[in-house]
């Protein structure tokens, strides 16, 4: 099994006919993803990649049974696209768009209350259940089916960790990107909780960054609730305070935000902390064989 998406997911891409969405939809289809339709306002009634195009997400839900959406629209329109997906009843919303205004996301997070949807991102490389379903921009060939759950803020650091794991024969149940923005959808705890309940996930790799307290909150939750090992890495030990390191969320504003402080606290809470980003795969191997 897996979490959030699998071979039965009925996926749409919003912004389907755009150049990026087209390329990544093709890649996803090659990987076995069940893309049932796409949405591009104004192009309803057309066909793209042999799939129907709808004007609205509601049409894609009622006529194609969509329950997962990948949002590929430009950042200035992305919040509107997320609201549309929530309103239409899409269960899993993956927001690839990078550069969504923070206050747009504040309003989205208010609107989602009371709706049965979960958002991954914005600014995520996406979510992948290897060989079943891929909604995102990650290179599918480094992933392989297996029993390790992966959750990260960063996309490329996720690739780095996954490649190390796969090279040592440890495949992934699902790999989830929660995105690098300060206001995002699902947080680490939401994803850990899903992995904890998944009978086909044996351990979880959590990859965080400087800034905020999400990773420590997740470690606290894990220490109280998880019955599976958690392997953790925090990027940014060498980052200076007060400078934003690319991701809008990656800025050290207080002592609790530093990578060092986070890793120490996570270790106290029972997480298998990896100090060297090159040792993530090796640590997974060691923990599983222990």
């Amino acid at each position: 099994m897996s979490v959030f998406i699998n071979k039965n997911s009925r996926v749409i891409y919003q912004g389907f006919t755009g150049q990026h969405a087209t390329f990544h939809a093709q890649e996803a289809i090659k990987h076995g993803t069940n893309i049932v339709a796409g949405v591009t306002p104004g192009k309803g009634g057309n066909t793209h990649l042999d799939r129907p195009v709808f004007d609205t997400v509601s049409d894609a839900v009622s006529q194609a049974g969509a329950d997962v959406s990948g949002i590929f629209v430009p950042p200035q329109f992305a919040a509107d696209a997320i609201l549309e997906a929530i309103e239409a009843g899409i269960k899993t919303i993956v927001v690839i768009a990078d550069g969504i205004p923070v206050q747009d996301m504040v309003r989205v997070k208010r609107y989602i209350i009371g709706h049965d949807s979960i958002i991954f991102g914005p600014n995520t490389a996406g979510v992948i259940t290897p060989s079943e379903c891929k909604v995102g921009i990650m290179p599918a060939n480094i992933y392989q089916p297996g029993r390790i759950g992966v959750v990260s803020r960063s996309g490329t650091l996720n690739y780095e960790a996954v490649a190390q794991m796969t090279a040592l024969g440890h495949g992934q149940s699902t790999s989830v990107g929660i995105g690098g923005d300060p206001i995002n959808g699902a947080n680490f705890v939401d994803v850990l909780s899903a992995f904890n309940d998944d009978p086909d996930t044996d351990a979880v790799v959590l990859i965080g960054e400087i800034g905020g307290t999400q990773e420590v909150d997740a470690a606290e939750w894990a220490s109280a609730n998880m019955n599976k090992p958690v392997i953790g890495f925090i990027a940014g030990v060498s980052a200076p305070t007060g400078r934003r390191m690319g991701h809008a969320g990656a800025i050290i504003s207080g002592e609790a935000d530093t990578a060092e402080a986070k890793m120490n606290r996570m270790e106290e809470l029972g997480v298998h902390v990896v100090r060297n980003p090159a040792d993530i795969g090796k640590t997974v191997d060691r923990v599983l064989k222990a």
């Binding site: 208010r110 480094i142 650091l157 390191m245 980003p277």
Partner: protein, 388 residues
């Protein structure tokens, strides 16, 4: 994006926040003229730079005559102001704000932030004004009122009254506080701000609320919606290398070390810096080339990294998903051929089109140091600094 105090006050005033009478001057003469226009007997001359702690560095001066205003302006404009928030070289001051000095009875703190925990805008208020609010929150958390704002209703009057009462703004001051808080929130919301701070907010002449100092920063992903805010950007306050990099779609931040880094993705870029540190080296910069990087973009990244004279070796670490290793490799070859790079260049490529990328590098016959993974790359880059 940060803006100056005088710009913040101009903006807040347009939303109805009361600010002192004042204007910005870029010379001694105009400072004197502004003081005359304002009138009164006492003025304050404030250096305009994007850094706090200006008072501690001598950047805020009181003047009791027009002559004194000119003297302070002359002294401050063109000087390098060193404050607890600047580096040791300080920041060049190009303008001063000349304001009527105020008769302050009491000081408060009022701020708005994007609260990551609440995932909302949070208002922060305190009766301990004029101080570092983070310090107050640490030592005396009861003195800091924090309320997360529901975006569905905004900041209603009752909530403002409640906050005002908690920090002791009662009686005739309460309606003023309510109006001011709501004006600040409207400005924050309508201009996509990330941070707004009035510190101190003061009672002057015993009965009037006034924003004595104010600071705001705005969401770089939203400023394009507001040309008037975009116009506030002061490029002189930014590192010229960082400005040039952002023009090329690169995210560059200068650091103190000597290993230049070119990486895709913020998380991997930080992890690469960490790996360099673990090998006993020091990164010269953070640089994220982003996704879909063209050969030209990679070549530009080399140019920007090499502008830092401390750089003794360059580490290129690309794990391509949306990127293509062949494009990256072409960019590296272009850079090596056109820029006469003398520093050792360590290249680690992985992911999309890896084989094509390797072939381009091999065919070029250029002296790259090939690295097979992250650890190998960091080790070789740090080693190369020692043995150029």
């Amino acid at each position: 994006m940060n803006i100056h105090e005088y710009q913040t006050k101009e903006l807040l005033k347009s939303f109805g926040v009361p600010v002192p009478d004042g204007r910005v001057a870029d010379s001694e003469a105009s400072a004197g003229m502004i003081a005359e226009e304002i009138g009164g007997e006492r003025w304050v001359v404030k250096a305009q730079i994007h850094a706090g702690g200006r008072g501690k560095g001598g950047g805020v001066q009181l003047a009791d005559s027009i002559d004194e205003v000119r003297k302070h302006a002359d002294h401050i404009i063109g000087s390098r102001l060193i404050t607890p928030q600047t580096n040791s070289a300080g920041k060049l001051v190009q303008r001063v704000l000349v304001e009527a000095a105020q008769n302050i009875t009491r000081e408060y703190y009022l701020g708005l932030i994007i609260d990551r925990v609440a995932q909302r805008i949070t208002i922060i208020a305190s009766a301990s004004g004029g101080m570092d609010i983070e310090e107050v929150a640490k030592t005396d958390p009861d003195k800091v009122v924090r309320v997360a704002i529901d975006p569905a209703v905004g900041l209603p009057e009752f909530l403002c009254r409640k906050i005002a009462a908690r920090i002791g703004l009662t009686g005739p001051l309460m309606p003023q506080a309510v109006k001011l808080m709501r004006a600040l929130y409207r400005c924050f919301r309508d201009k996509d701000a990330l941070m707004a701070e009035i510190n101190p907010l003061a009672i002057v002449d015993g009965d009037r609320l006034l924003a004595i100092d104010a600071k705001m920063s705005f969401d770089g992903n939203a400023v394009h919606r507001y040309p008037e805010i975009t116009n506030y950007r002061d490029f002189d306050e930014e590192d010229p290398k960082e400005v040039e990099a952002s023009g090329h779609g690169l995210n560059y931040i200068a650091l103190d070390g000597n290993v230049g880094c070119i990486v895709n993705g913020a998380g991997l870029a930080m992890a690469t810096m960490d790996a360099i540190s673990l090998h006993g080296g020091a990164p010269a910069n953070f640089l994220d080339v982003g996704g879909g990087a063209s050969p030209e973009k990679i070549a530009n990244a080399f140019r920007i990294v090499r502008k830092d004279p401390n750089v003794k070796a360059i580490l290129l670490n690309i794990f391509a998903g949306i990127n293509r290793c062949d494009w990256v490799a072409e960019g590296v070859v272009q850079a090596m051929q056109k820029q006469a790079i003398s520093e050792p260049v360590v290249v680690r490529l992985s992911g999309t089109n890896y084989e094509l990328g390797q072939e381009i590098l091999k065919k070029s016959g250029l002296p790259f140091i090939h690295a097979k993974d992250l650890d190998d790359a960091a080790g070789k880059a740090v080693g190369a600094v020692g043995n150029p």
